[in-house]
């Protein structure tokens, strides 16, 4: 596909209701509109999305069966999540002057994943009729936490004062609400299969995209507010990091996906996971374990720079790259 094709795909992606909703939120926040979602509504939308995506993934596995690739893909996801923070840390130290402790905290965010970026990519694939392994949602869940370990190791090793990770923090990380709901819904979907999905399809399939639009509208508002209030937090080097790091993560994940022998769609989703940065699970863990790290830096980078980049340009780019390499 030539440059025209890339632009056409990026353009088509940009005018989807999902992306436009995000942009609406972003613009509303930047012009200081009072448009806002109450915390409970945002949380409710997020619970719905986690339940629906988990359930659909489980039902997909029930319909298509599990192959040996599942375990290999989970393993690859964990390795990527552990490895990516080290690259992120080195890049940040090279590109910016942020202190070690901040670099370690940001690195942790970039090793972990953003589930809503994954959902947006899944929607794009589904819209274009590209199948992907249903168990990629389990890979997403497996990639949430390992990066936290790397970040804490980096902080401790490089002179920071990371809180010792006690049993309580581990419990909070491993059984945090998002992971339990995602994996629990996945298990229910797998157990009840197509019949179970048919029973609740009208609730979790048909309205899914509409809810996703509202959620992205809220994400746009939060990202815009973060960008507005954190002028001076992001240096040019940090912004470059926020755009280059996802490309590095996606490229490594492309190599991993090809080595595993995932399908075209599966490779794209693994790239999206490698490229995305956490803004739910990791921020909370970092606040507990690395309290001296500046939370505005990590969140503004993950939500204000990398998330919009992935959503608008990144996902179509990963789709094209994977297509070019796999011949699709």
């Amino acid at each position: 596909m030539g440059m025209d094709g890339i632009l056409a795909l990026a353009g088509a992606n940009l005018v989807s209701p999902i992306i436009l909703s995000f942009l609406l939120g972003l613009v509303a926040a930047l012009v200081r509109s009072d448009l806002s979602f109450p915390e409970a509504v945002a949380k409710g939308l997020s619970l719905y999305l986690l339940f629906a995506i988990g359930f659909k993934g489980g039902a997909g596995v029930a319909a298509h069966g599990v192959d040996a690739l599942l375990v290999a893909a989970l393993f690859a996801g964990v390795i990527l999540s552990i490895l990516l923070p080290f690259i992120a840390f080195a890049m940040l130290r090279f590109l910016t002057r942020v202190p070690v402790i901040d670099a370690a905290a940001v690195a942790g965010h970039y090793g972990s994943i953003s589930i809503v970026t994954f959902v947006a990519a899944s929607s794009l694939l589904a819209g274009r009729g590209i199948p992907a392994e249903s168990y990629m949602i389990a890979v997403a869940a497996a990639m949430e936490a390992p990066a936290i370990l790397s970040a804490l190791w980096l902080a401790a090793r490089r002179g920071g004062t990371a809180e010792r990770v006690g049993a309580e923090l581990w419990r909070e990380i491993l059984i945090n609400g998002s992971i339990i709901l995602l994996l629990g819904a996945f298990a229910i979907g797998w157990f009840t299969g197509e019949a179970g999905l048919a029973e609740i399809r009208s609730f979790i399939v048909d309205p899914f995209k509409g809810v996703l639009c509202l959620f992205l509208l809220d994400m746009g508002l939060v990202a815009g507010r973060g960008l507005r209030s954190s002028r001076g937090v992001l240096s040019l080097g940090a912004v470059i990091f926020g755009i280059v790091m996802p490309l590095v993560g996606a490229t490594l994940s492309l190599a991993a996906g090809l080595a595993l022998g995932l399908s075209f769609g599966g490779v794209v989703l693994l790239m999206v996971l490698g490229a995305s940065a956490s803004y739910i699970a990791v921020p909370a863990a970092m606040r507990v374990a690395l309290p001296e790290a500046n939370p505005a830096l990590s969140l503004t980078l993950a939500l204000g720079v990398t998330f919009p980049f992935n959503l608008t340009l990144g996902i179509p780019l990963y789709l094209l790259l994977a297509g070019a390499v796999t011949g699709n």
Partner: protein, 103 residues
């Protein structure tokens, strides 16, 4: 009506630390407190707002304890061990309560 002197300790702390703080208070024998949501604010670490947030990382809570003045030091010691490195504010003020035996 007879009133009794008491201390009001207000701790504004990151939402992720709420459980750790209340555990520390319980261990120090302070079993009475009230937790209030904080909808937003601004301070040394910048602005924060609960609106639209999904995770707990960006939010704060207020933990308020009313105690007998004799127990203030023990409370502050255990609370400070938790909040020392975190974003937040600890303040103490004089107040009065009606039923002293409850504090």
């Amino acid at each position: 009506m007879k009133m009794h002197e008491a201390k009001r300790v207000e701790i504004i702390i990151e939402a992720v630390m709420e459980g750790r703080l209340t555990n520390a208070l319980n261990e120090a024998g302070v079993t009475g407190y009230t937790i209030l949501p904080v909808s937003g604010g601004s301070g040394r670490s910048g602005q924060w707002s609960r609106e639209g947030q999904v995770g707990r990382a960006g939010g704060m809570v207020a933990v308020i304890c009313l105690i007998h003045p004799d127990r203030l030091d023990a409370l502050l010691e255990s609370a400070f061990a938790v909040v020392e490195r975190h974003i937040g504010v600890v303040s103490v003020s004089d107040t009065y309560v009606l039923r002293a035996e409850r504090f």
